[in-house]
């Protein structure tokens, strides 16, 4: 491309992180441009509105130092990410800058420094899947490289329309990601090159699959309260709203570590940097018990923490979901944990305010709901063209202002997700972790155990809670013993099944088989008719039972201790 073709413009105004640019020829909506300021730095920006001969651009950096008249260079490209081998184990900011490599240059995030996201020198062992003559469509496998334990497909670029015939392929061997590995020709005779890496605009969903399917298979998280009571499905969506201090982050870390997904993408959107540091330093040493590899080997971290620029916080959520869709296209189950979508919504609100748009509720933009909906709609279980399935499951943490679930972000989210795991401050204060509220939460997906059993257990919880409310008024003395036993049963279920110790290596990870087994036993207790002489005896009995179950929870699955624990419980239950 010659210099003549480069589209340019001049800055005409600055307001916060929004600059107005008078353009010379033409611009595209959501096109990326660079503002060139007098100290020599080039600041990445995105066109978000065009009015007359002026484009409003959001700058992904601090805007101090920009002058009216500064040059702007447009790229003609939408904001995109690079997709190829080497994404796993990486840590990126919201614009896909590799943070560890930036760290080699400076302790601080100097503005205007952009690095290529992937390692261009590393060699990958490439094998050809589609020989010369094969006819392919966008998203079909051309070849593959091993990335850790994964079969990383090199695919026909997602943006290529129609059918393409492979005209040339490289021989299998070690190449870097920029190497042309194949060439293909379409019906009209145009020939293009295929590399291991391709770009894709983040705001556009990748749709090169055959069909979208109904999410039915559970995604096991090893949290009993989730898998049994409020299950999530592969390809489903759920949200975890909660006030600060309710344990959102601990829950998210637990999900990231123990969920039975192939790949986990952790998106730290406008949250504390310290929490990301824990992942950065612990995941490379923590082992993933299912594969025997390190946890980091299946993890990608997108980190745009609270003090990093707001505009790139807004884009980071799209960067994350695009990478998730890329791996889904390889037939993998991907889980995206976005913590927190409220910070993303706030970024939208800031931007909308600067654009002087008419505000909606709590000054959030009127289009908040449709943006939230279209983000969650990018999740899903899909059948690929080769018949395999892949999924993207999205978990959005929500941080409602004042812990009030009535606020717009929580409400917009609840409309579109398949499960709601509401965290409660009261439960957190009572140290009942995970603090998911067992009466207010819901899920539309299928549980590991039969639905009627879950309904029965939930009914017991509800009635136990009612008795508890009543006891607060009339005292223990005024409560009939039958009601008191219901209360004890509810508390028992809560203590031994809903609560789980996240910091214990065994109790924290409860497999689906174990959940089925333990739940049957718990249900047995709930259904059983007990007769006690008085309340003290009843309380003591349930205390004993609770202790036995908790001890049982701490024993390794199917070990001798486990069997021993079960015997103790059976003795208590059947020899009473």
């Amino acid at each position: 491309m010659s210099d003549v073709n480069i589209k340019t413009g001049r800055v005409t105004g600055v307001n916060g992180n929004l600059v107005s640019v008078a353009f010379d020829t033409s611009v595209r909506q959501n096109e990326v441009g660079y503002v060139e300021i007098s100290d020599g730095s080039r600041l990445k920006s995105e066109v978000i509105r065009v009015r007359g001969r002026e484009a409003d651009m959001q700058v992904f950096e601090a805007t101090g130092g920009i002058k009216v008249g500064d040059a702007v260079e447009f790229t003609d490209q939408l904001l995109s990410v690079e997709l190829g081998p080497g994404l796993l184990t990486q840590v990126f900011d919201g614009l896909q800058n590799p943070l560890p490599r930036l760290a080699e240059e400076s302790l601080f995030l100097k503005r205007g420094t952009y690095l290529y996201p992937l390692d261009t020198e590393r060699l990958w062992s490439y094998s050809v899947t589609a020989p010369v003559g094969t006819e392919l469509q966008a998203g079909d496998e051309v070849g593959w490289v091993p990335e850790g334990i994964f079969h990383h497909k090199i695919m026909l670029p997602f943006g290529w329309q129609g059918t393409w015939k492979i005209t040339w392929t490289i021989a299998g061997g070690d190449y870097n990601i920029q190497t042309v590995v194949a060439k293909a020709q379409n019906e009209s005779g145009e020939e293009r090159e295929i590399r291991m890496v391709q770009s894709w605009p983040v705001r556009v969903p990748i749709r090169t699959y055959k069909e979208k399917l109904l999410p039915e298979e559970p995604l096991v998280t090893q949290f009993r309260i989730i898998d049994t009571f409020f299950p999530i499905a592969k390809g489903g969506t759920f949200c975890t709203p909660g006030p600060f201090g309710a344990g959102k982050t601990v829950l998210q870390h637990g999900l990231a570590q123990r969920s039975e997904a192939d790949i986990v993408i952790v998106a730290a959107v406008g949250e504390r940097a310290g929490e990301v540091v824990e992942i950065l330093q612990e995941y490379p040493v923590l082992e993933d018990p299912r594969t025997g590899h390190k946890l980091i080997d299946r993890t990608i971290i997108i980190c745009n923490t609270s003090s990093m620029p707001v505009a790139s916080r807004e884009s980071s959520i799209y960067t994350s979901v695009t990478i998730a869709e890329y791996y889904r296209q390889m037939g993998l189950n991907v889980m995206l944990l976005a913590d927190s979508t409220s910070r993303w919504a706030q970024a939208l609100r800031e931007e909308s305010g600067r654009l002087e748009e008419i505000p909606g509720e709590e000054a959030f933009p009127a289009y908040l709901e449709s943006l939230v909906a279209s983000f969650y709609e990018r999740a899903g279980l899909v059948r690929l063209r080769d018949g395999k399935t892949g999924s993207v499951t999205i978990c959005g943490a929500v941080s409602p202002a004042g812990g009030n679930f009535e606020e717009p972000v929580t409400q917009a989210t609840l409309k579109v997700v398949g499960a709601f795991l509401g965290l409660s401050r009261d439960r957190a204060n009572a140290r009942r972790y995970p603090s998911i509220h067992p009466l207010e939460s819901w899920s539309k997906y299928h549980s590991l155990v039969p639905a009627e059993d879950v309904a029965e257990a939930r009914a017991m919880l509800r009635r136990g809670n009612e008795v508890n409310q009543m006891m607060m008024v009339v005292g223990e003395e005024g409560t009939p013993i039958e009601d008191f036993v219901i209360y004890l049963k509810g508390e028992f279920l809560d203590a031994v099944y809903l609560q789980q110790n996240t910091f214990d290596p065994i109790d924290s990870a409860c497999s689906s088989e174990r959940q089925r087994h333990v739940f049957t036993k718990v249900l047995d207790v709930l259904k059983r008719e007990f007769t006690f002489e008085d309340k003290t005896i009843a309380r003591n009995y349930f205390n004993q039972l609770r202790q036995a179950f908790i001890d049982w929870n701490y024993t390794p699955w199917q070990s001798t201790e486990f069997e021993c624990g079960e015997k103790t419980i059976d003795n208590l239950l059947y020899n009473k």
Partner: protein
């Protein structure tokens, strides 16, 4: 020579607008009207129209006041000469000392790359049992002190400043009563801490805009000591609610759309960009920045936008109520990083004492409802009283080990070992006979 502008075309709130060229966003200017002069900062550019926020307010500015652009943004002198000095919210000396002009650096700089951070592992000892034992303060932590107006939060802050083992103290006062300013200065002076302290003080009678500069000035100088001088820096900010209120005032005069109770939509990002300056750098003598910030809660309401947004940003919080740090609700999210390496009984004692104290609170409730007190209730009442007097009282000043011993003594005075649920081996070793 830079051009001087004379034609101001709009004055509204603390913002003036004029037509000027070759001005950059964030640039400082000097506005002179008659004998008065004030600094101002460019906050918006629209074609030739330049809007400036005048630090000392727009009162008395005339349409023909002189405006001279200085060609640089707001800066602070990053030198060790800062130590022992007191400045106003716009960075000029308040203590009759000389202006500092060497090695000026921009305030409000970029944030630390998360990949350069490390997990903090060093405890900061304060001599206050409710902190050291129950919610340990960790180097590089950011913690607010949530308080109702009227609580002794400034006294608590001053005590921590005096007793904390840090190299440099940076104090940022926002909307401070003049008496409180004098109190801090005198207390630091009496304890000989002034020579290792830098103070940026905005008092309640100073212009509002200057209030919003204080955290950035304080944190930029803290960053200098931590990065260049490898010092352990403690930043004390009081009161962040005043800072948020100043931002609210400015946002509304700028005709920005308010989000929640009049606060600007970017309140979270604004607070976060300050609090996130707290950091521990790598290396044996890597410096650190720890931030303790008073946040008064209007109407004792933790869901008010300022404490609420703060709670989502910080690593825990201290609740100050009834003259002591509340054991419930107060939280140090980083304590588990350090309290396993202090003394083997630390965690157990912490959990046991809090659990028993919570039972004591239940008993108090029962007592107030007129239920009969059992012997166990009597024990708890005795325990609660001892705990409040010897642990919770803010006057208590003992090192961590002393406080732990004290804890065992209180337990032994009130209970039998089995009643406390403490593991047998710890009882053998620590139970006071």
């Amino acid at each position: 020579m830079r051009k001087i502008y004379h034609r101001i075309i709009q004055i509204s709130g603390n913002v003036i607008t004029l037509e000027a060229e070759n001005v950059f966003n964030g640039e400082l200017a000097e506005v002179r009207s008659g004998s008065q002069s004030s600094l101002a900062q460019v906050i918006r550019l629209a074609g030739k129209r330049v809007s400036l926020q005048v630090f000392s307010g727009s009162r008395g500015i005339s349409t023909d006041s002189e405006v001279r652009f200085l060609g640089h943004p707001m800066q602070v002198s990053a030198t060790t000469d800062l130590l022992g000095r007191i400045f106003t919210g716009n960075g000029t000396p308040r203590d009759n000392g000389p202006e500092l002009t060497d090695h000026l650096v921009e305030i409000g700089g970029p944030s630390v790359n998360p990949a350069c951070r490390i997990i903090p592992k060093k405890m900061i000892r304060t001599g206050i049992p409710m902190i050291d034992v129950f919610n340990t303060l960790v180097e590089s932590q950011k913690l607010p002190i949530f308080s109702i107006p009227g609580e002794p939060y400034n006294q608590l802050l001053a005590r921590i400043a005096m007793q904390a083992e840090v190299d440099v103290i940076v104090f940022g006062g926002m909307g401070l009563k003049y008496d409180d300013y004098l109190y801090f200065r005198n207390t630091l002076d009496e304890h000989g801490a002034l020579p290792r302290t830098v103070m940026f003080v905005h008092t309640a009678s100073d212009p509002t805009v200057e209030c919003t500069l204080v955290p950035d000035l304080a944190l930029a100088s803290a960053e200098f000591f931590a990065v260049e001088e490898h010092k352990r820096v403690l930043v004390l900010l009081t009161d962040m609610t005043n800072f948020a209120d100043a931002m609210k005032e400015i946002a509304i005069t700028m005709e920005q759309i308010p989000s929640n109770r009049g606060y600007p939509g970017d309140l979270y990002s604004q607070l976060a960009s300050r609090y996130e300056k707290a950091v521990q750098f790598r290396g044996e003598n890597g410096g650190s920045i720890t931030i303790l910030a008073v946040t008064t809660m209007p109407g004792d309401d933790v869901t008010h936008p300022v404490p609420d947004n703060t709670g989502y940003i910080t690593e825990g919080q201290f609740y100050l109520s009834g003259g002591h740090i509340e054991p419930f609700g107060s939280l140090s999210r980083l304590k588990q990083n350090v309290n396993k390496d202090t003394r083997e009984d630390h965690r157990t004692l912490m959990d046991t004492m809090i659990r028993l104290y919570s039972e004591y609170r239940d008993t108090l409730e029962k007592q107030s409802m007129g239920f009969r007190m059992s012997p166990w209730d009597q024990k708890l009442l005795k325990y609660g009283d001892l705990f409040e007097r010897n642990m919770m009282d803010l006057q208590v000043n003992i090192p961590l080990e002393g406080a732990l011993d004290q804890g065992w003594k209180i337990l032994a005075e009130c209970f039998e070992p089995a009643e406390t649920g403490v593991k047998t081996d710890l009882v053998k070793k620590f139970w006071s006979k």
